[in-house]
Each structure stands twice: as C-alpha cells, then as structure tokens.
Amino acid sequence: MFWWLVWRDLILAWRRRADVLATLFFFVIVVSLFPLGIGPEGRLLRTIAPGVVWVAALLASMLSLGRMFAGDYQDGTLEQMLLSPQSIYLLVFGKVFAHWLISEVPLVVVAPLLGVQFGLAQNNLSTVAVSLLLGTPVLSIIGSVGAALTLGLRAANVLVALLVLPLFIPALIFGAGAVEASVNGASPRPWLLLLAATLIVTLVFGPWATGAALKISVE
C-alpha cells in the first residue's frame, strides 16, 4: 500500500508537472538573484552562501506544502484513504515520502550547481548537498503537520507558513551551520550529526502528529 501511494503521487505529479517545476524554478531564481545583486565579491558571497541556499530551500518547500493533502481532501480520496484498513502512520509516511521525492529531491540535486555561483569549492558543494539531503525530509515531515492542520481553511497557505516556518529553525541552523563550517575549513560533521538527529526525532513523532491532524481536519 505504501508503494502504491508513492507511485500514485508520482504519476499525479508527472501529469501536473508544471507545479513541481514552478517550485524548482523559484528556488533557482531566488538563489541566483543574490550573486547577481551583490556582484563578484568572492568573500562576501562565500559568507552568505549557506544562509541563502538554506533559506531559499525553506521558502521553496513552503510553496509545495499546500498541495500535499489539499487535492486529496477536495476530491474525497483522502477520506477514502483514512477509511482504509491500513495504519495511518504508513499512509502519512507514504504521502510525506512522495512529497519529498517530488518537491525536495530536485532542490537537493540543483543546489550544488547553484553553489558554484557563490564561488564555493568542491568539498563545500558536497556539504551543501548532504546537508540538504538530511534536512529536506525534516521540512517535508514538519510541513505535513502544518498542511494537515490547515486543511480546508481559507488562507491556508499563509497559515501554514506562520505555523511551520518557526519549526524549521533548528533544521535551518544545523544545515546552514554545516555549510558554513565547511566554507571556513572546519569539519561539518557535528552539524550534520545534529541534523540527522533532528531528522530521526521528526521521523518518529511527525507522522503521528500529521495523522491526528488529518483526522481532526476531515471530521
């Protein structure tokens, strides 16, 4: 059932790929505006690169969060899924995993390319990718709680941002910290471990919270 759900969401995303591409282009453009605006000052660019890439990733994820459950809620498929004899944890986990594959993995893939514009060295670029690889699932999971809570409300998108962005702060600090350490020639390892720990904690508790929120929203 898990793989069917992921497969279904991948087909849906493919048939509505404009939405996915919009998120990706948003990320690319926001990150690219900084080097263009600031000019070729290598040292400054290297200093701001970690923060810029990570903040842009947060904002780009916000764009796609609203879509995570809204479509299924409107056409009644979410109700059917909640009535299926499967565990709700697995259901949420499938939805979140599919969201991560569709909306976050493309960010992880292009981020190192964008880092080149900031004059980051090879090993810094791999830290960018690794930190996003560990951090973006956190964004998807925490975001799913917000998306589930605001389901069916007016101005849901704004509300999700207000609810979820503050909760993204730990991931932002650890992720940007890892890249910054690597830029300064230190080891990013401790930051990445902290990020991994954040991921494990959200992985354990997030889907339960999302499941409970979905039940409330559907009622």
Binding site: L5, R8, I11, D75, G76, Q80, L83, S84, P85, S87
Partner: protein
C-alpha cells in the same frame, strides 16, 4: 452486525438527532431519509467512524468501533458525495490504485471486469477529468464492488445516475444483501428493495 445505541449528533449549536437506536443484521438494509440539512450525511459519517458521535456509541459485533479502529474500517465501504476519483488518472488507474490503497491488489483483468460491470468498459483509458458526473459515480460504484466490505454506507448513491445505472445500483445493493452483506443508504428515491429486511430512519430537521 452493527448496533447503534442512543446516538446523538450536534453540529454547531444545533442538535441534529438524539437517541437514535438500531440493530443491523446480515442481509439487512437501513434507509435513512429526511429533508436537506436534517443530518443524513452527518449520521453516515458517524457510522463510518470518520466523525465521533456527540453521545451514545456504535458497536460492531458488540465491540465499540473506537476500540476496533482499523479493524472496523476493513469491514465498511463508504460512498460519499464526493466520488473519491482523481481527475488526472484514467478510470482503470483510479480503480486499481484506490483498491490497492484499500488493501486489495487487483490485477488489470479483474479491474477491467469491475469496470465492465458498471458499464465503463469503453472509457477505461480516459482520464477521469473528461468523464461525466454520472460516469464518475459509476466509477465510485465500481470501487464499492471491488472493496469486498460487509457494510456498505451509501450517501445519495443514485445522485446523477441515469435510469440504467439506477437499476444497476439497485441490483448491486440487492445482490450484496442476498450475500449476507449489510447496507445503510441515505436517499430521496425509492430503493424498491424487498421491505422485509428494510428498516427506515426518518430524520426531522
């Protein structure tokens, strides 16, 4: 069997119904009737376990459905106002995927058989977006047939169906009852099923 004990439902500050009791046994049918806004859908959502009753309890084989949770969801199939059909998927994909999510992996051939039974064989490869309201309803009926559940909970099952499909859905319900299934149907139309096993619940606003 499904037993309701003193069910009550409150929406906002309005009491929709109280002290609702029934006992539904294999082969039995409950018709829920009442004008718009009298709480038919709210009742059905309580019976599915999607909403909690304000008072009273619902028992499946003498156990409270809240303690059964997923064990109860496996016994019911709910056809809501919304068909639960994805616009971007074709009819056959819709049925296959929704059945798989419900725990029944159908082969392609089985899926086609179900679509044939509801008269959608010709449009199986069309995206649901281009299907008419009645055809989407037929697709939802196919999901119901495929679900293999013992209790059918149907909300306005005949809405937007043509005469042929209305007859078809009557036939499905009566077959289901003959096989020892149970059904709870909210409707404005006559179901035209044998009265011996039918109970009626009239909701007043």
């Amino acid at each position: 069997m499904l037993e309701a004990i003193n069910l009550g439902c409150v929406r906002g500050d309005r009491q929709l119904f109280t002290n609702l009791n029934f006992l539904l046994e294999p082969g039995g049918l409950i018709e829920v009737r009442g004008p718009n806004g009298s709480g038919k859908t709210s009742l059905l959502r309580i019976l599915c376990g999607l909403a909690a009753p304000a008072e009273g309890e619902l028992r499946w084989r003498s156990e409270d459905i809240r303690s059964l949770d997923e064990g109860y969801s496996g016994e019911i199939a709910y056809l809501a106002h919304q068909n639960g059909v994805k616009d971007e998927l074709t009819a056959i994909e819709n049925l296959r995927i929704s059945s798989a999510l419900n725990g029944q992996a159908l082969t392609k051939h089985e899926t086609q058989t179900f679509l044939e039974r509801v008269g959608l064989a010709r449009c199986q490869d069309l995206p649901a977006r281009v299907l008419s309201a009645g055809q989407r309803r037929r697709l939802a009926l196919a999901r119901l047939l495929a679900a293999d559940a013992s209790v059918w909970i149907l909300d306005e099952v005949m809405a937007s169906l043509d005469d042929a499909a209305v007859a078809l859905s009557r036939e499905f319900i009566s077959n289901h009852l003959n096989d020892g299934g149970m059904a709870i149907v909210a409707t404005h139309q006559e179901l035209g099923l044998p009265a011996s096993k039918t109970q009626r619940i009239d909701l007043r606003p």
